[in-house]
């Protein structure tokens, strides 16, 4: 379908509402944050307007560099784990009966209704020594004694993957439903085992969807600041945790703002890089 380009101001009408919302709730706060990141901090909790680079300079240290690196690594790991788990799961889901699909999707949606706090404390209980899943393993004779599985990196990763998994499935679901089932059948008649057909037909045919999903989960995971605190040790704290800490507990708004701006820039750079590589792969 070919559409006429909008000509009069009234043609742009439907754009006003989202444009206003985006300006008021994103552009203005983000602009304020950028401005604050250059302000001078006053001891005692406030800041005065200024233009100083000291907030950014403070950030350029080994400590914050490590935290930034860990945050990115954690978010990428969560994104990869989610897609690797969700892709075969969703593929099987689309081949189930309508009834089974509805049941699974309702279950996944109910996970979305849980808040991050509830997810965090539920997993901390499940991973605890006194009431955790290791007690079950002891009961069936796999382990000798119950053990605490948290705090630790594994616990943080599990919690975050659990939280992001339903989103991943919901994003992948439409693309997989639309995927022509005869593609895999054709691959099978051409000598591919079903497993091989999945990897060299389904996965490449869905490449754009997979890249988009990876980016979405990555950004989603980057903003997580409660689960690393509940399920991790201080070395597992992400940049988002430190930003919260600076902004709320240290009352150092300019530094928190500088870190947030930096995080946004790094994220944008990574996402553009991913899209750029994806585009190049498409041309080749």
């Amino acid at each position: 379908m070919k559409r006429e380009p909008p000509r009069t101001l009234a043609d742009y009408g439907p754009l006003f509402f989202p444009a206003t919302m985006l300006t008021v709730f994103f552009v203005v706060p983000f602009g304020t944050m950028i401005a604050v990141s250059f302000f001078q901090r006053q001891q005692g909790g406030f800041y005065t307007p200024a233009f100083v680079w000291s907030n950014y300079e403070r950030f350029l240290s080994v400590f914050f560099g490590n935290v930034l690196g860990f945050s990115l690594m954690l978010a990428i790991t969560v994104a990869i784990c989610c897609v690797v788990l969700a892709l075969p799961f969703t593929y099987c889901l689309t081949r189930m009966s309508r009834r089974a699909q509805v049941l699974w999707l309702v279950g996944l949606l109910s996970v979305l209704s849980l808040s991050e706090v509830i997810i965090g404390f539920a997993w901390s209980t499940l991973f605890s020594r006194t009431a955790g899943i290791t007690n079950l393993l002891v009961a069936i004779g796999i382990m000798d004694a119950p053990r605490a599985l948290y705090p630790g990196f594994g616990a943080v990763l599990t919690g975050m993957v659990y939280q992001a998994f339903p989103y991943t499935v919901l994003v992948l679901f439409p693309a997989l439903v639309r995927l022509d089932p005869t593609l895999t059948e054709a691959a099978r008649t051409l000598g591919s085992s079903p497993l091989r057909a999945f990897f060299n037909v389904v996965v490449p045919a869905l490449r754009n969807t997979i890249v988009a999903t990876l980016i979405m989960v990555f950004i989603f995971a980057l903003g997580s600041y409660l689960l690393p605190q509940i399920l991790g040790r201080p070395q597992h704290w992400t940049l988002s945790v430190l930003i919260t800490d600076q902004a709320i507990y240290q009352s150092n708004m300019p530094f928190a703002a500088a870190m947030a701006v930096f995080l946004v820039l790094v994220t944008l750079a990574l996402v553009s890089l991913t899209l750029f590589i994806g585009r190049k792969g498409e041309v080749a």
Partner: protein
């Protein structure tokens, strides 16, 4: 026996029987068309031959070996799907090379075979194109080349030409038949288009309601249909009721037919007579009297519709033998005995 043998194949989905007790043998190198209305089980039968569906009962034999338990990817067959199922992320050459790559054929040999196949389908120089940039007919050819890349024992096609426009479809039918004869490959095509089946097949298998109604050569199917369904489904025909009069002679529309006999023990039967076998004469005499209701002059053929006591009969003639009739005129319809096929109802 070399070739494909289906032994008492049935397929049930829950309480629905899609295919019921099918027995066919397809000798090596023959071209078989499975023909039938939609939902007659022909596609299910093809999918079972391909191994994409499992038969509920029966066995499939290829060159004497039972292939029923063998998974699709080990059956050595080529299949063209109705949707064609070309891989969107691969270009033309990569699509055709896909089965070769899966089998681990060396890169140079892959290239050689792909060039050969591109030549066979008259698409030399198209190898680097993305499949999305091809026309319908070109895609069709690519799908055929990909299915034939490994020189399979069986070539299966599921409604392969249904997406093409009428002209191209006719051309592709001829091309497909010539290709099959050149390669001598056992081929099974599923179609609902009887013209397509008549053009291409050595043997036409007419199916309805999950059962085979008749399996024979196209001419045989046309000339000697096994039942009223086949007679009506293949080409157009006039199905008339035949019954016995008080003296036990066969009559059609009230006229005694001296040369025809009812099947023994039956008081009623059907007669199928092709429109081109009817003659129109002056009313009276031995002819069945009727009134012309409509004349469709198609240039190449002329169809005359005649009403005989409520029953509509169609006669087809060529322009040279144009009947000198007009709408509303009384005419006589002659049914030559040798053209009448008596069928049980």
């Amino acid at each position: 026996m070399s070739g494909l043998v289906l032994k008492d194949i049935s397929k049930r989905f829950g309480s629905f029987t899609a295919v019921s007790h099918v027995d066919i043998s397809v000798p090596h190198g023959t071209f078989v068309c499975m023909l039938g209305p939609s939902g007659c089980g022909k596609t299910t039968l093809l999918r079972m031959i391909a191994g994409l569906d499992e038969p509920s009962e029966g066995a499939i034999l290829l060159d004497g070996a039972d292939i029923t338990p063998i998974p699709t990817h080990k059956r050595n067959l080529g299949m063209v799907f109705q949707s064609l199922a070309l891989f969107p992320h691969l270009n033309v050459a990569e699509n055709i090379a896909y089965p070769l790559r899966i089998r681990g054929v060396a890169k140079e040999d892959q290239k050689k075979r792909v060039d050969e196949l591109l030549q066979m389908i008259h698409l030399q120089g198209y190898g680097e194109r993305p499949v999305s940039k091809l026309s319908g007919g070109q895609r069709q050819r690519v799908a055929i080349a990909r299915a034939l890349a490994l020189s399979p024992k069986l070539f299966l096609l599921d409604e392969p030409l249904s997406a093409l426009d009428a002209k191209l479809r006719e051309a592709m039918q001829v091309e497909l038949r010539q290709l099959q004869q050149r390669l001598g490959i056992t081929t099974i095509v599923v179609t609902h288009d009887q013209r397509e089946a008549m053009t291409m097949a050595d043997t036409v298998v007419v199916m309805n309601g999950g059962e085979i109604r008749q399996a024979a050569s196209p001419v045989d199917i046309y000339r000697n249909p096994a039942d009223t369904f086949v007679a009506d489904f293949i080409g157009s025909t006039n199905l008339l009721e035949m019954s016995a009069d008080s003296a036990g002679r066969a009559t059609i529309l009230g006229k005694p037919m001296a040369g025809l006999k009812l099947p023994t023990g039956l008081a009623k039967a059907s007669v199928s007579i092709r429109p081109e076998d009817l003659h129109l004469t002056a009313p009276g005499g031995d002819a069945i009297d009727g009134t012309v209701t409509f004349i469709r002059d198609l240039g190449g053929t002329i169809e005359t519709f005649i009403d005989v006591s409520g029953q509509s009969i169609v006669a087809v003639s060529t322009p040279r033998a144009r009947p000198e009739v007009s709408v509303g005129q009384k005419v006589g319809v002659v049914l030559p005995d040798e053209a009448c096929v008596v069928l049980k109802r």
